[in-house]
């Protein structure tokens, strides 16, 4: 096993970096998009609500591979789009549907009195959302968001299907050449564990920090 790493460390580290990069872009993108769509789902405006619901239902219910291949194969006919971006855009869209649900759940479990208090205090709906309800909703959503982000890291292996040069792709290439998939995939598995382990630790720390003194 050590041998495989020694012989291919450059390739593996390249893949490791691509996986981290795609995951980070995916995390940022899906958090932003997920929040926007969660807010649309909760909006008083019926049209916004419909668009939000439709987006979430659509991307939650089709396989990530289909979304990714759509960008890699169909969209690529008109716009030049690499495997990395096809996979990462797929990840963002797919994950943001789940992130939206987490955030919507978080916002829904914020006591209604918070919004009412803010509105009675003179804040507009948007101001109340930004300053009062969203921060509390986010905090409540953090544990489930953590799960989604770990799924995101693992799902980033979708890049391997569209030649995105990520960890999984490199594992496939290496095991295709050395014909020792077992040990190759174990090594790659350890690298995934490193990312997800770090991510869990960070998420738990955020949870701890926000938890201090701000409970109801």
């Amino acid at each position: 096993m050590i041998n495989i790493f020694m012989q291919n460390w450059q390739t593996i580290l390249n893949g490791f970096w691509i996986t981290i990069l795609s995951s980070l872009i995916g995390l940022g993108g899906s958090l932003l998009l997920g929040t926007i769509f969660a807010l649309m789902e909760l909006a008083p405006n019926k049209i916004l609500k419909f668009i939000g619901n439709a987006f979430v239902e659509f991307f939650r219910n089709i396989p990530l591979l289909v979304i990714t291949l759509f960008f890699y194969v169909v969209v690529a006919k008109d716009f030049k789009i690499s495997g990395f971006w096809a996979g990462t855009i797929g990840l963002i869209l797919y994950t943001s549907a789940f992130v939206a649900e987490c955030i919507r759940g978080g916002i829904n479990s914020v006591d209604e009195g918070q919004m009412e208090g803010a509105r009675a205090n003179g804040l507009t709906y948007t101001q109340a959302m930004i300053h009062i309800v969203l921060p509390q909703g986010f905090k409540l959503a953090i544990p489930s968001l953590g799960n989604q982000f770990i799924n995101l890291v693992k799902n980033s292996s979708i890049l391997s299907f569209v030649a995105g040069f990520d960890l999984m792709y490199q594992a496939n290439v290496i095991s295709g050449a050395n014909l020792d998939p077992f040990n190759t995939y174990i090594i790659v598995g350890i690298f995934y564990l490193i990312i997800t382990g770090l991510l869990s630790t960070v998420m738990r720390q955020i949870e701890d920090r926000l938890g201090k003194g701000r409970l109801q």
């Binding site: 169909v74 006919k77 496939n172 014909l179 174990i186």
Partner: protein
């Protein structure tokens, strides 16, 4: 217990879990290897009257799932069937062929796992693979070519030797390694299987798709927009594969192969699958 202590215990437990996991997998591999040496595939085939073949399901002409029968159909499948029949005849018994779909990536693993007895899966004979698989004599004279969009101006592999070109291959095949020799400057990307590599070519993710000419000819039947250009630039015949050390079975396969070539079955199958492909004369393939 304090929260910090609990957390440290959690971390410790995960590390232990990882060690156990890796240990378990290694033990599993050892056990499998031991088991490998113990069973003789040929006698098992004779005992169960079933020979299990791994065949492709995504490769036109060789092994492609037919929507009607939901079974793989192609030259590989027919050869496998003929060989099984011949082995049965040689051993004065009856043996049924059973087919399991394999991918380029999984075919060797399935063989190692003893999920199949042999593979007929458009597999090129290479020294690397010969270390862990026993190959039969060549059964198909393949060579690597390139498939490009019509009117692309690309005439052969040399035209792709620049940093603006991307060549698409299939993961786990030798084609991309070979391409590095003929067009070292080109970018290479690997797709999970033939049909996805072809889709990638169609959506212009690369300028050429490379693999064995036989497979590329299959795609020219599927689409009018593509053509195979240039002569094959390698000689990489296909072999049937059995697990390393299954000498008995390999001998039986080789014997059967020689016999079906001799009695004309082989040429009949070549004609059946390759006689109406533009740009290819099936007589070049006969033995």
């Amino acid at each position: 217990m304090s929260k910090a202590k609990l957390k440290r215990m959690g971390l410790f437990a995960s590390v232990i879990l990882v060690i156990i996991l890796i240990g378990g997998v290694m033990l599993g591999i050892n056990a499998r290897e031991r088991q490998n040496k113990e069973t003789d595939a040929l006698s098992q085939i004779k005992q169960t009257h079933v020979m299990r073949w791994g065949v492709k399901c995504d490769t036109r002409l060789f092994g492609l799932i037919s929507p009607k029968t939901e079974q793989s159909e192609g030259f590989d499948v027919d050869i496998a069937r003929a060989i099984t029949k011949q082995i049965a005849k040689d051993n004065h018994t009856h043996i049924k062929s059973e087919f399991t779909p394999v991918t380029t990536n999984s075919k060797i693993q399935l063989l190692k796992n003893k999920q199949v007895d042999a593979v007929a899966a458009s597999m090129t004979i290479t020294p690397e693979r010969a270390k862990i698989v026993d190959f039969s004599k060549p059964y198909f004279p393949a060579g690597q070519s390139i498939l490009v969009k019509k009117n692309s101006g690309i005439k052969n592999i040399k035209d792709l030797n620049n940093s603006k070109s991307t060549v698409i291959g299939v993961m786990g095949t030798t084609a991309l390694e070979t391409t590095k020799k003929f067009a070292p400057k080109a970018h290479l990307i690997a797709m999970p299987d033939n049909s996805q590599a072809f889709s990638a070519l169609e959506s212009a993710q690369g300028q050429a798709m490379t693999t064995d000419n036989a497979i590329l000819y299959g795609f020219t039947q599927q689409s009018n927009n593509v053509e195979v250009v240039g002569k094959p630039f390698t000689n990489q015949p296909y072999g049937l594969g059995v697990d390393k050390g299954q000498t008995q079975l390999n001998n039986a396969v080789n014997k059967a192969l020689a016999e079906i070539i001799k009695d004309g079955t082989y040429n009949r199958l070549i004609k059946k699958w390759f006689s109406n492909i533009p740009g290819l004369d099936w007589r070049d393939l006969t033995k």
